[in-house]
């Protein structure tokens, strides 16, 4: 079975399980994207993770759709997934309105969502509810704003006057051995 057929099967399974909450199944360049409602995105991801064995979360992408056609909501989050055993690629997208930026986190399903979502929060401003440490990652600690939003100026540099003190962040963080993949 080719990759396209496998992804088609997954898309059909998602569509039949979640019904109307799946807003659209988009197919482009032989790739399938499930556009789902924000309320069920965690359930869709959990279903993909455990039932369909999508064990590799490749990336979390935050997009500012202000100038994009067709317009759904201001922001979007997209999860790029891969199933290693069956070599299938799939993407899950959810529109996020400007008035309600809360999206449930996927870091309880994949450890790679930890930094992926931190970056989406920092660059676009989406709040991932339940994330263990939703703080700035790439910009400095005195930076204000979300740089990859379309209304943030390209040249908007902000000076940083001092290096950051990491002691408090360290005390608050959870230590521990790698885990989480054996849960569930």
């Amino acid at each position: 079975m080719s990759d396209k057929k496998r992804a088609q099967k997954i898309a059909d399974a998602i569509q039949s399980k979640f019904g109307d909450a799946v807003l659209e199944i988009e197919v482009a360049y032989d790739e399938f994207v499930a556009v789902v409602d924000k309320a069920i995105v965690h359930d869709v991801l959990a279903d993909l993770r455990w039932t369909h064995h999508f064990d590799l979360l490749l990336d979390v992408v935050g997009v500012d759709c202000m100038e994009l056609e067709p317009f759904r909501e201001r922001f979007e989050v997209e999860y790029i997934l891969y199933a290693m055993k069956s070599d299938t690629r799939f993407r899950v997208r959810t529109p996020v309105p400007e008035t309600d930026l809360d999206v449930p986190t996927a870091s309880d399903l994949w450890q790679s969502a930890n930094w992926g979502e931190r970056e989406a929060y920092e660059m676009i401003g989406i709040n991932f509810v339940g994330h263990p440490c939703l703080k700035r990652l790439l910009t400095h600690h005195e930076f204000v704003g979300h740089p990859l939003r379309k209304d943030y100026p390209v040249m908007g540099g902000q000076w940083c006057s001092s290096t950051s003190e990491m002691k408090e962040e360290l005390e608050e963080s959870q230590g521990g051995a790698p885990g989480g993949s054996s849960a569930g």
Partner: protein, 424 residues
């Protein structure tokens, strides 16, 4: 004569000069240490530090030498790649991609152009595909040389760095003869290549390739069975395949844990399925395995290069699409159509249809993905880079916790974290 069979005399401090008796009469009865009150120590490593290569920072809470908790701070090379490419044309993004994983710039170029060609529905000619494979594999060897060289230097063995850098300079000369640059090449274009191979280039590659096995042999001879190296790297920074996949690992770091996932075998592109090569796989997922997997991958890349060099066909190197590829200079300088064509390609350039694509390539570090959103104009709406070392670095906190401070250096080197890619 002293009696050899007698029990050896037990000396006490009283047998020595009394002037040196400081009043510890119970010296030979053993000292008992009072309960020492210890506090944790907080230590900051980087960003200005030889092991962190100036670009990340590890902040640790130490209990003696053991790390209780660690925090990783990245972003010291965040250059705003994703924001600035929104203001450029698609063709102008290519030099920015060079600087992502700057140790192997051509591979990033190919990855980006491959994604763009898929979006524009262009198929590059066979000659271009084979040349791209050739340069990618040469770059793979060069990247692994830098990674293993600096990893071993950070552990303390300096000689290997020179062996590998000398060999890398020879390969760099070959690439410089082709592209004109030493590090940031920008040789690949959307729809083909910038120019064709110079005469005698393939022979010079074959000749240079003969000198690489010697460097590899020198380095492996010094480290593979070296007891000190094994003690510092075996069992250090171990991770299982399940955990590695959960953290989003790909590339040699994932293959060192035992998985044989490689995009060149799983989803072959550019005739990789016609070439005979193996995927080296480690067993334990520790630093030793990562170093050995990379060295073995260098040898596999040499095999690929030898096979591909014999197969490069003749033919054009660019796609036959006037809106994407620059016309030859003779036409530009002599005909009106050539001039206007050149003008339009430079001013407007490639304009893919509105839509989104995610395309991935196997780089020396792992899976480099480009997620490109086009709105139908000549400027990209959004380009998101999926960097392989962003996700390997994600796991650093958990790899070093519970270990010793000296292991941080060994683990960091083995992950091959290139900040240009990590921070973009």
């Amino acid at each position: 004569m002293p009696d050899k069979n007698a029990a050896p005399k037990q000396y006490t401090s009283k047998d020595f000069d009394d002037d040196l008796d400081f009043g510890h009469d119970d010296f030979d009865e053993g000292l008992t240490l009072p309960d020492i009150n210890t506090e944790p120590m907080y230590i900051n490593i980087g960003p200005c530090h030889p092991a962190t290569h100036g670009t990340f920072r590890v902040y640790c809470k130490l209990d003696g030498e053991l790390i209780e908790k660690a925090g990783v701070d990245v972003g010291y090379l965040h250059r705003g790649f994703e924001k600035i490419v929104e203001t450029k044309q698609y063709g102008q993004v290519i030099p920015y991609t060079d600087r992502l994983n700057y140790c192997s710039g051509l591979v990033n170029n190919v990855a980006y152009c491959k994604a763009m060609e898929r979006m524009l529905d262009l198929e590059v000619p066979d000659r271009t595909q084979y040349i791209r494979v050739l340069v990618m594999e040469i770059q793979r060897i060069m990247d692994h040389m830098i990674c293993v060289g600096t990893n071993i230097v950070d552990i303390g063995a300096l000689t290997n760095f020179w062996y590998f850098f000398n060999a890398r300079e020879k390969l760099n000369d070959v690439i410089e003869a082709l592209t004109g640059a030493r590090l940031t090449y920008s040789y690949v274009r959307i729809g083909g290549l910038a120019w064709d191979l110079p005469d005698g280039w393939k022979e010079s590659v074959k000749a240079t390739l003969k000198e690489i096995p010697k460097a590899i042999k020198d380095v492996t001879g010094l480290v593979k069975k070296n007891r000190i190296f094994q003690d510092r790297t075996m069992g250090v920074g171990m991770i299982s395949t399940e955990d590695a996949v959960s953290y989003g690992w790909t590339g040699p770091c994932l293959r060192s844990t035992g998985s044989d996932h490689d995009l060149r075998k799983v989803r072959p592109y550019y005739h990789y399925d016609e070439v005979d090569f193996d995927i080296p796989v480690g067993a334990n997922g520790d630093v030793y395995d990562r170093v050995m997997v990379r060295i073995a991958e260098m040898e596999e890349s040499m095999r690929i290069i030898e096979q591909v060099i014999a197969r490069v066909p003749d033919g054009p190197i660019n796609v036959d699409d006037k809106m994407v590829v620059l016309p030859p200079k003779e036409k530009v300088h002599t005909t009106m159509e050539g001039l206007i064509n050149h003008f339009k390609v430079v001013i407007e350039g490639a304009q893919p249809p509105a839509g989104r694509i995610y395309d991935a390539t196997e780089t020396p570090n792992g899976e480099l993905g480009f997620y490109i959103i086009s709105d139908g104009t000549g400027n990209p709406y959004r380009i998101k880079v999926r960097p392989p070392c962003f996700y390997t670095m994600n796991a650093l906190k958990f790899l070093i916790e519970g270990g010793m401070v000296a292991d941080i250096v060994a683990i960091l080197g083995g992950l091959n974290v290139i900040a240009g890619e990590l921070d973009r």
